[in-house]
Amino acid sequence: MTNQQPEIQSNGPSKGGKGYFKAFRSYFSCVPMLGWLAGIIAAVLFERFLGDQISELLGLPKIPVLFGCMIMLKDFSLIPSALAFLVGVYFIPILLVGRALAPVFNGLAGMIYKISPMFSVVLHLALLYLALHLWADLSAYRLMTLKFTLVAVMLTLSLNVINGYMGEFSCSHPGFMALGAYAASVFTLVLFTNDRFFGEALLSPSMGVYFFPVAIILGGFAAALGALVIAIPSFRTRGDYLAIISLAFMFIVKSLIENLEVVGGPRGLGSQPNYASLPMVFGWTVLCIWVINNFVRSTLGKALNAVRDDESAADAMTVNTRRTKMVGFLFGAFWAGAAGGLFAHILRYVNPASFGLQRLAEILAMVYFGGLNSVHGSIVGAVSISLLGEALRPLELFKWIIIPLLLILVMIFRPTGLIAFKEFNVKQLVRPRN
């Protein structure tokens, strides 16, 4: 759904397949973000009102949930119908609305931008939310996938701060996530839920929804506190040694929770209240992207890059390296903890086994697939790996051959990831294209 259109101006169409593609891109390069969002909303509305009839006409059992991948992989004879649905319901309306109304949207985007760039960004976000809401509203499965994908975006971004911007290889993210997940769960369970772990609710359960952000922030702080614990002894280490210390931290957190009978030990902690609605998760994800994007573009963010490239040079240039590393590490951990809190309330169950090596591999794959040192990249990496993982579900075992193979290919042809070392300029994104 994140339709990031590249802004490449081509020099007119040339012959051949590549020429067609270039011509296609230049033909649509004048469509502003507003136009794409309007196109997506039009497509989603189209699907909402006519999707059932169209899929019936095409002989599909139901509206394809994840762009038809599941249907195509399960029953090969349905590939043409699923493709037809995809083209007819998504591609054509999006391209048509986007291109045909491009002048209108360019004018509109220009007008809004003139009022205030901030207002323009907020408006775009509202439209994006509307599109996602309408899309996810059609099926609970889409909604579930979307929520987990948004959490994955947060996790990937927060790890990118440490592994990409700071240049340290940290392996403790599942540990931070676990701290956040358990802290937020304990908060909501103690205060707002009658459950068998902590007994009666201390406050009225109806107030819980309003206090949920507090729970998430608490989760974030718990993770940051954990980060502080490993940051202090590991100041003197770099590279591989930090990786090993952080890996050890992950195992310590896991064993700690396994042995803490208060929070259920290895059996886990369940029945969290259902507070993680789509607006809540979306809001947190947007906040996370916004804060991290501002952070990495700030002086402190640039100092992080300087420390990564050459620590002694940075020190000579009056960068307080110790403080910079500390802030970067704690900041990344905070957002991992917040993501963990959301994760626990979407799944409504946490157990220590969820925060092991497998989770680490997953997050690392998303970071390196998307690209180091790039907010774009993290979003693309998290969304593509999460959606691929869901869409290739019918392939069972082969899914675990295809996804790693893709990773290998990306590492060979783009060693730093798909979109690495690129600044995410939101104002540029919402500007009119003329």
Binding site: G59, S77, V87, Y141, R267, G270, Y349, S354
Partner: protein, 390 residues
């Protein structure tokens, strides 16, 4: 540009022409299987899948399920949960809302069954987890049932059996503290044992962590504690190591296990060291009779190995679902009403004759059924020794 547009339209026309036109929606009943086909425990997923496919063959041979005098075709929707909690939740959501299954069998492990059961209950879809022993899976969830007995029952069964069989008064326990099933069962065994023999009669309560491979320090402690028997509720890979290392250290007294021993791999890995040992289980493959034997023989012929308890429990869970569907009266065509009807029929199932014993559900959705004590005989087969009923 015009050319590219005409190309797209051309493609679309061809795609539409190739499409088989709206076929009439046939009346089918869909049953979902949520199994760990990839991930940590693929053998468990494989067993569930094979058992489900055998069940489907039977139903198809009978021409479908008969509900209210009408035959309905059955379709299985098998989803892989990767042995992960969030994946199991997604798989359940998908099967309930996309595939519109009437009932779900699975997930197998508790860490997937607890959250997935929450989803099933929220959507009012009946779900039977064949293998999960965590009480939370079914607790306060009217739509979630279980196919196996629980640890609070199994612990005392083993404690009583050891007392009667070996006349031991001092026992040692060796278990994995990081895995929920062994830990829970070890604690229930300790409580039951101390109830019979008095406090302090569990002379050694030793633990280790998942993926440990050296147990000599724990075993040395156990040997020195003067214990007369070791109880170790572990999975097959650890069982082999524990038993072999105990024998190397000179332990000659009995070692007793629980239903997690009941995998074909236990004997493959452990070899003659495990011969003559006992464990509690859901069913015994060697010396089985009647429908149990028929199931085992058929499975072995088809897939080349003796089915373990997961396959048998999945088979029984599907059998119960079948019985419930057939006894629910009639299909209304409204999936929500039908699911509730299946749930009500499930709650009423009495004395279901499964291959793992007779089953009746309690109010919590847990079955009342007998445990079996199995002896690993000199050929390495799991032989029925005795049956213990609640």
């Amino acid at each position: 540009m015009k050319r590219s547009l005409s190309l797209v339209i051309g493609c679309l026309v061809i795609a539409l022409a190739l499409t088989p036109c709206a076929w009439a929606k046939s009346k089918t009943i869909k049953i979902g299987i949520n199994a760990p086909i990839t991930g940590d425990i693929p053998k468990v997923g494989e067993g569930s899948k094979y058992a489900a496919q055998m069940w489907l063959e039977d139903v198809e041979a009978a021409g479908g399920l008969e509900v209210g005098g009408q035959k309905y075709k059955v379709e299985l929707v098998i989803e892989d949960n990767e042995a992960k909690a969030e994946s199991a939740v997604k798989a359940n959501t998908k099967m309930i809302t996309q595939d519109e299954v009437l009932a779900i069998v699975g997930p197998q492990s508790s860490k997937q069954a607890v959250p997935a059961g929450g989803v099933a209950n929220d959507w009012a879809t009946p779900m039977i987890t064949p293998w999960s022993t965590n009480p939370d899976s079914t607790k306060d969830r009217p739509y979630v049932f279980r196919g196996c007995f629980l640890d609070p029952f199994q612990g005392p069964v083993v404690a009583n059996f050891i007392t009667e069989e070996f006349g031991a008064a001092k026992a040692a326990v060796l278990y994995d503290v990081a895995s929920d099933y062994p830990k829970g069962l070890a604690e229930f065994f300790k409580i039951a044992w101390e109830k019979i023999h008095g406090p302090g009669s569990v002379v050694a309560f030793e633990s280790f962590t998942t993926k440990d491979a050296d147990f000599s320090s724990q075993l040395t402690k156990i040997i020195q504690s003067g214990a007369e028997v070791i109880f170790t509720p572990q999975y097959y890979n650890e069982v082999a190591l524990i038993v072999q290392q105990a024998h190397e250290l000179g332990w000659q007294k009995p070692i007793v296990g629980s239903d997690s021993w009941g995998s074909a791999e236990t004997v493959n890995l452990c070899g003659p060291d495990c011969y003559g040992l006992f464990f509690s289980s859901h069913y015994a493959a060697a010396g089985a009779t009647g429908s149990t034997k028929a199931f085992i023989d058929r499975y072995e012929k088809k897939y080349g190995y003796v089915p373990d308890d997961v396959a048998a429990l999945t088979w029984d869970s599907l059998g119960i679902v079948q019985k419930a569907i057939e006894s629910m009266g009639k299909m209304t065509g409204n999936i929500e009403k039908d699911r509730t009807a299946v749930r009500n029929a499930l709650a009423k199932v009495k004395d279901f004759e499964g291959i793992t014993g007779k089953m009746t559900f309690t109010e919590d959705g847990d079955p009342i059924k007998c445990a079996v004590i199995v002896k690993i005989n000199d050929k390495g087969e799991f032989e029925f020794y005795k049956s213990v009923c609640p």
